[in-house]
Amino acid sequence: MTTTTAAVSTPQPAGRPLWRRLIGFNLLAAVILGVGGYYLGWFIGHQISGKSFAYQENSSENDVALLLAYVFGVVGFLIGLGFANYPVSRMLGRPASLREKEEEGVGRYFGLCTDHKVVGIQYLLGIGLFFFIGGVNAMLIRTELLHQTPQFVGPGQYISLVGMHGTMMMGMMTSGILGPFANYFVPILIGARRMAFPRIEALTFWLLMAAGFILTSTIFFGGFPTGWTGYEPLNDQAVMGMDSYIIFFALVGLSMCLLGLNMLATIITMRAPGLTWSRLPIFVWSVLATAVLMVLAAPMLVATLIMAALDRTIDTSFFIPGGGGSSYLFENLFWFFGHPEVYILALPGFGIVLELLPVFTRKPLWGYRLAISGMLGVSLLSFFVWQHHLFVSGINADLRPFYMLSTEIISIPTGFIFLCAMGTLWKARSTLSVPMLFCLAWVFNFLIGGLSGVFVSDAPSDTGTHGSFFTMAHFHYTIMGGLIFTFFAAIYYWVPKMTGLRFNERLAKLHFWLMFIAFNATFMPLFALGLKGQPRRVSEYASNLHALNVWVSISAFVLGISMLIFIVNTVYSMIFARVAAEQNPWRSKSIEWQIPHPVPVNNFEQIPVFDSDPYDYGVPLTVAGTQPASAGT
């Protein structure tokens, strides 16, 4: 374990007057240029389509204009934030630099800032906002399903709500853990002072925010009818709201790819002396395994969405059978990204659980190397399973056994990770703190998610459950039960370090128990509803399913209330109560808890030297040496 001699700097924010701070590259300029860019793109799109594409002249639907408006809007937004300044200065030959806007006060959180800790907090708040919007959509969906027939929003809006909920959650939450927690803590955990590419780090966040607003804007253009998968040929036939989906996911893909690249470069090149691969915290390993998927899978998504956008605008025929294309091409390409995407969501959750369990069980992590091999195995195998999503879509029957087998094989490395969690918990005298409770909930939820996954990976049983609520229950158990519970575990565990303030524990425990019970009460019955034949994405259902649907809806509302309790707790604890957190409330041996909070400007005054992994609980803490900061990270 390591210690550092970091000292707290005395913060002296620059005292520029407000009017000076409003002029320049900041969020205000970004919004102005973003709106300006949007209208410029809209105008150009109408000029192009009016002159070049006769088929659109008499149509109120102008996908060219909307797509260009979005693209120009995003470019304007980024220019306004100041992201063009550095590339232009490099083009003119000016020297490379690392820091931008790290000296301001609150303003840093509303613009381009290269401090990885600021970016981590930006991510936490930004993703929290869109997670909330996605959650509200879920509440509206369940409100509609209180009735057997459409009563509340109607079938068209219902499918749009389903699409917005799914797309928002699957898109934004890809960075749910890597965005806030990996950006904030990976440099600290590896003994570095920054991420490898700080501007790219900031760019990934702002791309994601632009994407979130674009997806939300789909309600002004009629929504989209495809759900989160954006399947063809529905994609091509949909109204302009579909363009919001395309741009949203393309931006998310770009953000993901850059985030993964930055994480990998940081972990590979910036580890402190002594931090060998076999000493790397397991959370960092999970980030690494996730980042590999992000770098390789996300570009495929972007490529696919460009094809979809071209089909919708200039009438190419990638996915249109009438022009020689095939909608199966989209399905294949999408799931080549889509299945790794599932693990992009799940792997960081594995990392959080394995990182936290040793702290709360006061035991070394059981099977460290096994866990790593499990994560890397999942990462690799996830590229060879995508066709199980197409079992009932008319794929060549000869392909089914291979994809069934490969999908079932992926349960082996996943099982490694589960085994390591079990081994660490074995005979442990655990402290049932709130983060630990969320980790234990993960164990329960993911077990159900994993076991139900066997049924949907098996071609014969998938034939009966595909597209039903059974599948929906399965992936909510893996994604919400796997990712969101660990997301909250990470919040309760690390936010006291990030803010220096602690949560109200009573409210936090209330949040946990209500969330855990309501989650299971919501999603467990969906297995039964699915087996009884209730299909996804349809707002009508048979009368014999009504009682169970009402139960699920009420449980979902309770789940929503549990989230409100979390929000209340956050506002109360962070703004009103403001009780200072202890320096190391969990008695963790990990390095982030050995440095003071607030974490110093440069993380470490002197670069730490690692001489063991952070899981040697039961072994007396050793004080490691340091070396001069200038020796490099």
Binding site: T10, L296, V579
Partner: protein, 221 residues
């Protein structure tokens, strides 16, 4: 140690860099390693991006839905295509030469590197010229769709890479006149030019290889 909540107003959860504070500059080898790794990772990401188009090509070709894969008259201009790929390969070769000259300590590396940039831009211009000359558009069947999208996206990738190479040459030319300060964010930031060029050259050589695959698949197969 418990810190006082009074010291931590919301805006200062992360302490800002104090005005006038001196932060120790970072040694250039840190950035050099990151650039080297990033260029390899970017090559991987680029491969998977174009893999989507390769998959689309062979998938749609094998299906040949309603015999609309490729009409008889749809043939890209072989001469322009060959000239374009020749420029790409030559440009990459010149860039590699520039990189080697720099490693050997020669100051003349900027000449082949600039030549590489110029030839890369010529390749882009030739591709644009081809769009104006070809007798088909993106709506003329599946092959035409794949051809237009794939080549256009490749063109954008080439433009990005030319920008990257240009920044290295521009930095070198500026450094000769006006070296970067020793104690900036990065100690002797100009020492990052060599690894930056190395990373850019690696990526450009890789992209040129993708260009050759593109040419073979779209023009020759």
């Amino acid at each position: 140690m418990a810190s006082s909540s009074e010291e931590l107003p919301l805006g200062r959860m992360v302490p800002p860099v104090p005005a006038g504070a001196k932060i120790p500059p970072e040694p250039p080898d840190v950035g050099a390693r990151a650039l080297s790794v990033a260029s390899r990772l970017l090559a991987g990401a680029t491969t998977f991006f174009f893999l989507g188009y390769i998959f689309a090509y062979f998938y749609l070709r094998s299906l040949n839905v309603e015999h609309l894969w490729r009409h008889g008259h749809i043939n890209p201009n072989q001469a322009l295509g060959a000239a374009m790929i020749a420029c790409v390969v030559l440009s990459a070769a010149l860039s590699v030469l520039g990189g080697r000259l720099m490693k050997s300590g020669s100051r003349s590396w900027t000449v082949p590197a600039l030549g590489g940039v110029a030839l890369g831009l010529v390749a882009v211009a030739l591709q644009c010229l081809e769009y104006t000359r070809q007798h088909f558009g993106p709506t003329d069947g599946a092959y035409a769709s794949v051809f237009c999208a794939w080549t256009a996206l490749y063109l954008i990738a080439v433009l990005f890479t030319m920008y990257w190479l240009e920044t290295q040459v521009a930095s070198e030319l500026r450094a000769r006149r006006n070296p970067a300060p020793v104690e900036g964010d990065i100690r002797q930031a100009d020492r990052l030019i060599a690894p930056g060029l190395d990373a850019a050259v690696f990526y450009w050589a890789f992209l040129a290889a993708i260009g050759v695959v593109t040419y073979v698949v779209l023009y020759l197969v």
